[in-house]
């Protein structure tokens, strides 16, 4: 079961459109299908298919709010993959490097 879940998460993340959908939810969570498909050049059916893959992987959770179905970003599966290979000791060094990368890129960009 944990292996199956990981496969689904990696598969879901291995697609630019699905990562874009997650980025949009990260910017503003709890969006409807209509809001999510707004800037995508794709049929509604296509967007729904991508959202279903994200939902099956647990990266998106849907809730009903009145007549609308809202989509929420669930970061827990990504955290679990993170925990598997990065322990508390390593985390500090990884964070320091990520910090350095961000600062250098801010300067050049």
């Amino acid at each position: 079961m944990p292996g199956v879940t990981d496969d689904r998460v990696f598969k879901a993340l291995a697609d630019p459109t699905r990562r874009h959908l997650l980025d949009r939810l990260f910017e503003r969570d709890g969006r409807s299908l209509v809001q999510l498909e707004a800037d995508l050049e794709m049929t509604r059916f296509g967007v729904m298919k991508h959202l279903r893959v994200l939902e099956d992987a647990g990266l998106v959770v849907t809730r009903r709010s009145g007549r609308e179905k809202l989509h929420f970003l669930n970061p827990v599966p990504i955290r679990l993959i993170h925990d598997r290979w990065i322990d508390k000791y390593t985390e500090q060094r990884v964070a320091a490097l990520a910090d350095l990368k961000n600062r250098l890129e801010e300067k050049t960009g």
Binding site: M1, R28, G30, V76, R79
Partner: protein
């Protein structure tokens, strides 16, 4: 990481190889909760949910719904931090559903955060994500993350 505005409804979900009863105990009994919830001892008593920190400070929240082992709804106030505790109370819903192969699905909805923007920021991202991944590790292996 770019900044985001924490939203007033946040939803988190985790699949745990444990029965709904085990998850219910983990979120309502102090000896379990202190293993994964930042050392906080949680208990339900007389329609209240009491949180006690390791240093002895404690605070209460109203329990709005209690249906063991499937559903718990309570107010949330961040008694561990005076600045956050000064904000209006929000609401946390725990939903536990049994799935196949001894796995249960736990969904946490933290909403009504309109009057608590700093709390919304504090619990998003690392906050709930850390608690739920640690809860999963605790229930599946019997140990919390160091």
């Amino acid at each position: 990481m770019t900044t985001m505005t924490a939203t007033t409804t946040q939803v988190y979900r985790v699949f745990i190889r444990a029965t709904p009863e085990m998850i219910w105990d983990a979120i309502t009994k102090p000896d379990f909760s202190e293993q994964y919830f930042h050392g906080v001892r949680l208990e339900l008593r007389d329609g209240r949910r009491r949180s006690t920190l390791a240093d002895g400070r404690s605070w209460d929240e109203a329990v709005l719904e209690e249906d063991p082992p499937r559903r718990l709804v309570h107010e949330w106030s961040a008694g561990y931090d005076p600045e956050l505790a000064a904000e209006e109370p929000s609401r946390v819903t725990w939903e536990i559903e049994p799935r196949e192969n001894g796995v249960s699905m736990l969904t946490v909805v933290h909403d009504r955060l309109e009057g608590a923007p700093k709390t919304a920021e504090a619990v998003s991202g690392e906050g709930w994500t850390f608690v739920l991944s640690t809860l999963k590790t605790f229930l599946e292996t019997g140990t919390a993350l160091a």
